[in-house]
């Protein structure tokens, strides 16, 4: 569709609709990202501010220090395992909700934590895990000595899974709702056993939702700093914490920018793999 119009009218229309938003995105998304890239190539000034000379030294430092490599590895590791745990909990749940008589109510029960403030959800686990918390109340009730549960990697895992579980269930539920169940009958009809029939007929139909949900959990889980900050306090350092530290008390914006670029590269790699299999419609599923 290319409506009749003079070039001037066409330009005006595009400028009036796309113009302001595009301008905003360029100014506040594209340019800042480029600034991060530039700053990541600079050095630390006496006040922590980025100054010349330019070079790859921040990246060299990042990749030559086992400490930082360990941080990257830990972020990926925790991100990956949390995501897998989320799937383990969320995948059957989506099916249960879709087949339940009370699915509207159950869906609502997933939506409520989804919209509950992120910090409150993390905070709730402090209350559970702290020394005088719920878990230790249980443990001591059995006559055992109270455990040091905070800060701990366990707490980080639990809170990460907890925080991002609704992010996964909702898109997956949308996929489960659209499942064509007659394929399952067809598979049975062709002699497949239940487990086989499920993986042949049903699982592929949920795959787009599953992959979208995976990314929706994995990306923020890898990038988070709040959860590790509040529940892993000092003990569990992720890339996010490293970045926050460099922009905070460590006062090394150049190095922090380099760490940001590394994090971004990891995320973009995942996205690239995802977009290659799922195409642009897959990207739309991430909203």
């Amino acid at each position: 569709m290319r409506e009749a119009a003079t070039p001037a009218q066409r330009l005006r229309r595009v400028l009036l609709t796309v113009g302001p938003g595009a301008f905003w995105l360029v100014l506040f998304v594209l340019i800042p990202t480029l600034i991060v890239l530039v700053v990541s190539l600079m050095s630390r000034g006496s006040l922590g501010q980025p100054v010349p000379p330019f070079g790859l030294h921040n990246y060299v430092r990042f990749f030559s220090d086992p400490l930082f490599l360990e941080i990257i590895g830990r972020s990926l590791w925790i991100g990956l395992w949390s995501t897998l745990l989320v799937i383990l909990l969320g995948y059957p749940l989506a099916f249960y909700i879709a087949q339940s008589r009370y699915k509207e109510v159950l869906l609502l029960l997933v939506v409520i934590p989804f919209f509950t403030n992120f910090l409150i959800r993390v905070y709730a686990w402090i209350v559970v895990f702290q020394k005088e918390g719920l878990l230790n109340a249980f443990i001591t009730a059995f006559g055992l000595p109270p455990a040091e549960l905070l800060p701990s990697t366990l707490a980080v895992y639990v809170a990460t899974v907890y925080t991002y579980l609704p992010f996964f269930v909702l898109p997956l539920y949308a996929a489960v709702e659209r499942i064509d169940w007659s394929l399952l009958e067809a598979a049975y009809d062709l002699g497949a056993r239940p487990v086989r029939a499920f993986f042949e007929a049903i699982f592929p139909q949920t795959l787009p939702g599953l992959l979208a949900g995976f990314l929706l959990v994995f990306i923020p889980a890898v990038g988070t700093f709040v959860i590790a900050d509040l529940l892993g306090g000092g003990k569990v350092t992720l890339v996010g914490n490293l970045i926050q530290l460099q922009f905070g008390s460590a006062q090394n914006w150049a190095f922090g920018s380099a760490a940001s670029m590394v994090l971004m590269a990891m995320v973009l790699l995942g996205l690239w793999l995802y977009a290659r299999t799922q195409g642009e419609r897959g990207l739309d599923r991430l909203v």
Binding site: L25, L109, A124, I243
Partner: protein, 258 residues
């Protein structure tokens, strides 16, 4: 099989609600520490309300959410219309740029905006980190969500309806106001709601773009939590969960009526 599924679902829901319920219960607990329930009290709520700063933080949060949602809804809706209806150069580049705020981790987005404001301030002495910079930052991620939500609605709209309007003498703007906008309104509302709740919920990006005097509720909660458990925070959390539930229920009721 069904039994296993429902047992599993029961466990997951318990996992989802246990921590929230603990906080709600503790907010009415007399004991300042620990999880033993020693008696009912509203003291923590009273203390919360006597803290005048809280009201200020709430106002800040709402100012940011309302202003940023208004701006991002307008910009995002227009952007969606232009992307769906018109052809122009660099359209693909713009489409990819749109996904950036959705997929880039909050921390990276936060520090990138911090750097931008810093660079600009070095150059022209403005803007100070304040509510204003928080609003700019929020719009920057909201815009993408609004655009994508509205666009999803817009592609379902039969373009001949817009052609019919122009055929009947409506200019592009009149067509948008009289036909396109009313028909995509559900999408625009959904986009605005999403933008609003994202703004209320955001901590990380606010954290990097806030200055002194621009504390929002999430920032307050974070700094309080860093200092340790406080029953007032239980009370505040309970209230916020309550408001969330209320808004969702109202939304469901409203949606069911239509």
């Amino acid at each position: 099989m069904k039994r296993i599924l429902s047992f599993h679902a029961g466990l997951v829901f318990a996992f989802l609600y246990l921590p929230i319920l603990v906080i709600v219960a503790l907010s009415f607990n007399q004991s300042r520490f620990g999880v033993r329930f020693t008696g009912f009290t509203l003291e923590w709520y009273a203390r919360l309300f006597s803290n005048e700063r809280i009201l200020e933080y709430l106002t800040n949060t709402l100012i940011v959410a309302v202003v940023s949602t208004a701006v991002s809804t307008v910009l995002g809706t227009l952007l969606a219309v232009g992307l769906v209806r018109y052809e122009f150069r660099l359209k693909n580049a713009l489409r990819y740029l749109l996904y950036v705020p959705v997929v880039v981790p909050d921390v990276v987005m936060g520090i990138s905006l911090l750097l931008l404001f810093d660079v600009v301030r070095d150059a022209i002495g403005w803007p100070r980190l304040s509510l204003f910079t928080i609003i700019l930052a929020h719009i920057s991620f909201q815009i993408a969500y609004v655009t994508l939500v509205v666009r999803a609605r817009l592609v379902l709209l039969d373009p001949t309806l817009e052609e019919a309007a122009k055929d009947l003498g409506a200019t592009s703007w009149q067509t948008f106001r009289e036909v396109t906008l009313p028909l995509i309104m559900p999408g625009v509302m959904a986009g605005a709601l999403l933008a609003f709740s994202l703004s209320l919920d955001d901590f990380v990006i606010t954290f990097f773009t806030a200055g002194s005097g621009s504390t929002t509720l999430p920032l307050y909660i974070y700094s309080s939590v860093k200092l340790g458990i406080r029953p007032e925070i239980h009370a505040l959390s309970t209230l916020m969960v309550g408001v969330t539930v209320l808004v969702i229920l109202l939304g469901v009721l409203f949606w069911k009526k239509r």
